[in-house]
């Protein structure tokens, strides 16, 4: 498979066509003066290949006159036509792409051009045409946010173009090197394009990375589960201790194995009939008792009051008795007197009449008798009072007995309630522990049933190992070294042919720095350190030719053409239109040597190679003239002058 360039064509707004035709498998040269649109050719190819930003500047002429840019590719005889419209006035690239396969010749008219493919679609088409195998790999979106990475036509074109400003820049070996993300893309895809890795390398590498990520995740999960289950056994022991404490498990039960332990816990957590005492509302019961006690107390108080009253009555009576008794005793002193005195109202001494008669014995005796009767009646009353008191005291004793009974009932009920409360607390505690055990057992089942995780880890490990083997990064490195060894050898050859400085030293392509390195006796010398614009251009050409030699020899999916924009600029500055050169000076010899190399390269390489050079020099040799396809001088430019007048006419 080779993919080369048959033609570049422009279509004007008035649907006129301007084309540049190229021959396949040989050197094609377009020469022309300054500002004739030479550099636009390379940019048109770049743009039509699907580059996202519009790069075909070319000044106002192109912007004003061109409607469509197009290229006609040749893939082993099949014509492939790609057309993109000119940028809109704002400078934005159009997303319209017209893609057509099996095209024999350039279409005469742009009338049929329409958007029939997206930029991504175009890239895929070109990749397929180049023979880049399906290597798009979509990483697992759950584990990574990396965009899909692939080796595609977009990267392949980097090896085929050398713009005017790139070919002489010592820091930029490849097309667009130095732009964001492009350097890495070139570096990463180089091993693929030089054939150091199989077509499935990328997909394997991505699979490998993904498998490793998944393995890491699963291993972490697995370790977590392991840790959980080892922690779980400690938890189980402590749960057993708690179960014993609350009486769910008899205290003499011990487990020898974790399984046994789990069984014991299972029985402990099993739902059970609780010997729960069904009791009346203990508080209500207590209230009844307390009410009763209160009633008894009141009754008792009443009895006590009554007894107190009676006793006071009795005491008063006995006080009276004592008083009366004293009187009786004193009155009875009359018994000491014998006989009745005479004339109580007469003084015995002076025989005078007494105003107050002395009380007679009779009087006193009568008083004594009266007192005696009174005392007797009091004594008769007293037994009745005391009977009443005795009765009340007996009743009090009874009630006190009842009160004591109620009191002890209350005490017993309170103790009972306390016992019930403790019991209830224990039931609650048991239920709580049983619940915890149940929860634990459920979790443990989850952990132990994580055998699936274990299997998955093993499976992933095997997958990673297999992918590792398939990838064999050592082998990859070895192959890459081999490939780059070839490139280095050819590079050295070509540099020798071009008589470049340090061309006599071994040269190599540094794939990390993406530069050419000369291994001198004093140490490695990189391109920027070599100096001289002629050397820079020479090394650019040499590196690309050496790479393409490998691409061709290995049938790598890289387009078989190389576009160089003004390789002679180091000898003849572009602002100086040297025109035809036939002077045998050193510069001329060097330029001739370069073109001779390009011409020979195309004819001597086993597989066909197309080199398109745009330059402002014109060598007079026949072979140079034979390679010239266009000569833009004397008013001939990329854009015909007639298009400009049309523009004017239209306005």
């Amino acid at each position: 498979m080779t993919l080369q360039l048959r033609a570049i064509a422009l279509y004007s707004h008035s649907d006129e066509r301007r084309e540049v035709m190229f021959d396949l498998g040989c050197l094609n040269i377009v020469t022309g003066g300054p500002q004739t649109g030479k550099s636009s050719l390379l940019r048109i190819v770049d743009y039509c290949w699907g580059r996202s930003d519009f790069v075909v500047s070319g000044g106002g002429v192109i912007r004003d006159t061109v409607a469509w840019f197009s290229i006609l590719l040749d893939r082993d005889g099949e014509g492939i036509f790609i057309a993109r419209p000119n940028a809109e006035p704002g400078g934005r690239s159009s997303d319209e792409i017209y893609f057509q396969r099996n095209v024999a010749v350039l279409p005469d008219s742009s009338k049929g051009f329409h958007k029939n493919v997206t930029a991504d679609g175009l890239r895929d088409h070109l990749s397929i045409l180049l023979g880049i195998s399906e290597n798009v790999y979509e990483p697992d979106r759950r584990t990574t946010q990396r965009p899909a990475l692939e080796a595609s036509a977009s990267q392949a074109i980097f090896f085929c173009l050398q713009a005017q400003y790139e070919i002489a820049d010592p820091r930029l070996l490849f097309h667009r090197q130095g732009e964001d993300g492009i350097t890495a893309a070139i570096r990463d895809t180089l091993p693929y394009f030089v054939g150091a890795m199989g077509d499935d390398h990328y997909i394997n590498q991505k699979r490998y990375a993904d498998a490793r990520a998944r393995l890491r995740d699963r291993e972490r999960e697995f370790n977590d589960a392991q840790a959980l289950s080892s922690k779980a056994s400690v938890t189980a022991e402590s749960l057993l201790g708690e179960a014993k404490r609350v009486g769910l498990v008899p205290p003499d039960v011990f487990a020898d194995t974790p399984v046994q332990l789990r069984e014991i816990l299972a029985t402990a957590a099993a739902p059970r009939e609780r010997a729960y005492a069904k009791m009346d509302d203990p508080a209500a019961d207590l209230t009844d008792l307390e009410d009763r006690r209160q009633r008894l107390r009141e009754e008792l108080q009443n009895i006590r009051d009554e007894i107190g009253d009676l006793k006071r009555l009795e005491r008063e009576a006995s006080d009276y008795v004592a008083e009366a008794h004293e009187q009786q005793v004193r009155l009875s002193a009359i018994g000491l007197v014998s006989g009745e005195g005479d004339h109580p109202d007469r003084c015995p001494l002076c025989e005078s009449h007494l105003a107050t008669p002395v009380p007679s014995v009779t009087d006193i005796t009568r008083s004594l008798a009266g007192l005696g009767r009174q005392l007797n009646s009091v004594h008769r009353d007293n037994p009745r009072l005391q009977g009443r008191i005795a009765e009340l005291e007996a009743k009090r004793t009874d009630i006190e007995g009842l009160h004591r009974a109620v009191q002890s009932d209350i005490a017993a009920r309170i103790a009972d309630n306390e016992r019930l409360r403790i019991e209830q607390d224990q039931f609650t505690e048991q239920a709580r522990i049983a619940g915890r055990i149940g929860y634990y057992l459920e979790n443990v089942r989850t952990v132990t049933s994580n055998d699936g995780l274990k299997l998955e880890v093993a499976r992933l490990r095997a997958e990673v190992a297999a992918l590792e083997k398939k990838l064999d990064l050592d082998l990859l490195e070895e192959r890459l070294t081999t490939a780059l060894g070839f490139v280095g050898r050819d590079l050295t050859d070509i540099a020798g042919t071009l008589a470049l400085e340090h061309g006599n030293n071994p040269l190599r392509l540094d794939r990390r720095r993406l530069t050419v390195v000369a291994d001198t006796i004093k140490g490695p010398l990189m391109l920027p350190n070599i100096g001289s614009g002629a050397n820079w251009v020479g090394y650019h050409v040499a590196a690309h030719l050496a790479l393409h030699k490998l691409f061709r020899a290995r049938h790598r999916p890289v387009p078989a053409f190389l576009m160089l924009d003004q390789p002679s600029q180091a000898y003849y500055p572009p602002d100086r239109d040297v025109g035809e050169v036939d002077v045998h000076d050193e510069d001329q010899i060097a330029v001739t040597r370069l073109y001779q190399l390009l011409l020979d390269y195309c004819t001597t390489t086993e597989t066909p190679m197309q080199i398109i050079v745009v330059d402002h020099v014109e060598l007079l040799q026949d072979w140079f003239r034979g390679a010239m396809r266009q000569r833009w001088r004397d008013g001939i430019k990329l854009v015909p002058v007639s298009w400009l007048s049309q523009e004017v006419d239209e306005e």
């Binding site: 004293e326 009187q327 015995p348 107050t356 009087d363 008083s367």
Partner: protein, 170 residues
């Protein structure tokens, strides 16, 4: 100083006063003192003493303060109990009518005879050793105190000295 009040006729007296201060009982107390005095001093019981007996033995604190034995020095005792003695004249005055009635009762019944030197045993003395059907501790101690007073007065100096000490004038 309370007026010596005369007594109402027996039937009009308050029954307590009549019973507690009846002439038989009061007379007995005076007779006991007089009899003891006469026995020890071998002379009639001076009349002024009769008016001291009831105030001394019927007033409970005074009776309790009386010496237990008759040979206690009267001067010493009176010095120790001057507070009690200070109230004695008033009590003696209030009981004067009672004492007088008791003396009349005794003389009418010829239990005591009143001579120029004082009271002496009458023709039909009180049967002091007789056992009465009812008795009380209070009355018994009153009787003992009355007897003691008779013996005590008999052992101590002159009538005038005693009366002066008691703060009482005849």
């Amino acid at each position: 100083m309370a007026e010596a009040r005369s007594l109402l006729p027996w039937h009009n007296r308050p029954s307590e006063e009549a019973a507690l201060l009846n002439p038989a009982f009061c007379g007995e107390l005076i007779a006991r003192a007089a009899q003891e005095y006469e026995r020890l001093a071998e002379r009639p019981f001076p009349l002024p003493f009769a008016f001291l007996i009831l105030p001394l033995v019927l007033h409970l604190p005074t009776r309790q303060a009386l010496p237990g034995r008759a040979n206690t020095t009267f001067a010493t005792w009176s010095a120790d109990h001057d507070v009690l003695l200070a109230e004695l004249p008033e009590r003696a005055m209030s009981l004067r009518a009672v004492t007088r009635e008791a003396l009349l009762f005794l003389v009418q019944h010829k239990a005591l005879a009143l001579g120029p030197d004082g009271l002496s045993r009458g023709v039909s003395p009180l049967k002091l050793s007789a056992k009465l059907p009812v008795d009380s501790e209070d009355v018994a101690s009153t009787r003992r105190a009355a007897g003691l007073l008779g013996r005590w007065f008999a052992n101590q100096g002159t009538v005038t000295t005693i009366l002066q000490t008691m703060g009482v004038t005849p």
